[in-house]
Subunit: 316 residues, 2 copies
């Protein structure tokens, strides 16, 4: 298992800079008053494909040598990683094959196809996904880019907090959502070298709190099929992300489904940005644990903004 | 009638800089492909009170001498001007009296009160509004800050396109919505001196197209009570804004209600910002008149982002 270093983050940033946005940081006096903290929201929802995952995906895609690039990349994902990898592959002009459950939302499939990704559908089970993916990879020779358990992906995600530290002085902590742990691992990787005084806090849905329980137990606990409105945070930690979580995360806080929806509404209303439920978990945990954040300078990563506008959770 | 100059815009910008945000400019590859133009969206919805109107309001409030400031400011408005004037007055610590129709949405009244504004309700008619306002002003001595027909307000709004020209090189045109004409007038005022090669285009709802008809007729035509989903654009031009519109606007385009709602959905989906219907009229007209914009570098002002999230127009 190769563990990426901060030099890998620096190399990733040089590699992907032409292909990603240096996203702005937003503030809201209202949310500062509400929480008693100074919050700095890093808007990764403003990446062209709408999520931070374009960083790791672009680092993997643009790091391939020409021979491998000709065979393209492949992954399995029903979320932002699929569209971001397709987007990065489109920018380089190479094939991208994605295995998605046939039950994935049509909007997600449409986005992958808009970016030129080839979708192979599988049944919504781990067995079917793994079998189908093995066949697709054997047929295409595409380089497997895991959504998070890949040093290239983690180094790419680490460029987000590098920018945040360059944009905002003296952060006491950075809070990011945790699912498989790719963003949190990149954040740990960067901050432990680049801003070691800044603590890393992870935020997770109560109903999918496997990372929280892993963190407390000291070993990976993987749930079978957790459910949450924060649909980007349902996957388990893996060995590489567990390395960073277990070594560098200061705390994991959780929030209820209602907390998450309420925080999402506050973000839309007062920051006036379109954030996914998954991206709203950090603010939900800040509101729930005010003593931990009051008076602090807190970076908050708005990880993505791909939402079905016809099915907003406060209208359900 | 004092007609503000570009020097007034420069003075306004120095005056209000500590109190407003230099809002970011957003791009979307997708919307560029869709329109064939290069679109640069200036996000005034990211001002703390959610609209460009904080610029003109802050210029008026912070330009008062101490004696007048002690008596505060007053206005009549049921929209963003009321909350932005209250916000600016709160920052200076002076009273703000607002006359609002009793039928105004509760959310708008709540926002004014959150910023410390005193609301006096009137009946939803011009007579009642003018009578009530005269009484409030006589009682308080507050300085009347008109929502748009005021040189201080127009000079303040002009700081928006000054920033935009500083942020984006070589704009062929800037498109902004037109209601009473405050933002368009400020844009004309700034660009005619600061970037005279950049044309000013106004965008208006078809169902409230009094500015379009005025522009074609060569004199102000005021409608009695037009209706549109773009609820910030229902007021008529006045002498000062007509001066700028008639002398400096290159073209006014209109869009249907459905065009506006569709454009709003595209902005939310692909720019991932929360924009009002009024702010979506420019993109609607760009999509409707592709030949006028194709191949051009086009500034688009997202004027505000105060929306009732429980009543989105595509869910009606």
């Amino acid at each position: 298992m190769y563990i990426p270093t901060f030099d890998d983050v620096l190399a990733a940033h040089e590699r992907i800079k032409p292909h990603i946005r240096r996203t702005p940081v937003r503030e809201s006096h209202y949310l500062n008053e509400l929480t008693g903290a100074q919050l700095f929201f890093k808007c990764e929802n403003f990446q062209e494909p709408g999520a931070f995952k374009v960083r790791g995906a672009a680092n993997a895609v643009f790091g391939l040598d020409d021979d491998q690039a000709a065979k393209g990349v492949a992954t399995h994902s029903s979320g932002n990683h699929a569209s971001c990898l397709s987007y990065a592959a489109m920018l380089r002009g190479i094939p991208c094959n994605v295995v998605m459950p046939r039950t994935a939302p049509q909007a997600k499939k449409d986005t992958v196809r808009r970016y030129g990704g080839n979708i192979t559908e599988c049944e919504p089970s781990t067995t079917s996904r793994e079998d189908t993916f093995a066949k697709v990879q054997a047929a295409t020779g595409g380089d497997f880019v895991h959504p998070y358990n890949d040093p290239r992906v983690i180094a790419g995600q680490g460029t987000c907090s590098k920018e945040l530290v360059e944009q905002v002085d003296g952060l006491d902590m950075v809070v990011a959502p945790i699912g498989g742990g790719g963003m949190i691992s990149g954040t740990c990787l960067t901050l432990s070298t680049f801003a070691p005084e800044t603590r890393v806090i992870a935020a997770e849905p109560e109903t999918a709190d496997d990372a929280y329980r892993s963190f407390k137990a000291g070993h990976i606990i993987a749930d079978d099929a957790p459910k949450s409105v924060a649909d980007g945070l349902l996957v388990p930690l893996k060995d590489l992300t567990w390395h960073f979580v277990s070594n560098h995360v200061s705390e994991i806080y959780t929030a209820s489904e209602q907390d998450i929806v309420d925080a999402m509404n506050l973000i839309w209303k007062h920051l006036r940005v379109v954030a996914e439920p998954s991206s709203s978990v950090p603010l939900a945990t800040i509101l729930k644990n005010p003593d931990a954040f009051r008076g602090k300078r807190v970076g908050v990563i708005i990880t993505g903004g791909n939402v079905d506008l016809d099915k907003l959770p406060w209208n359900q």
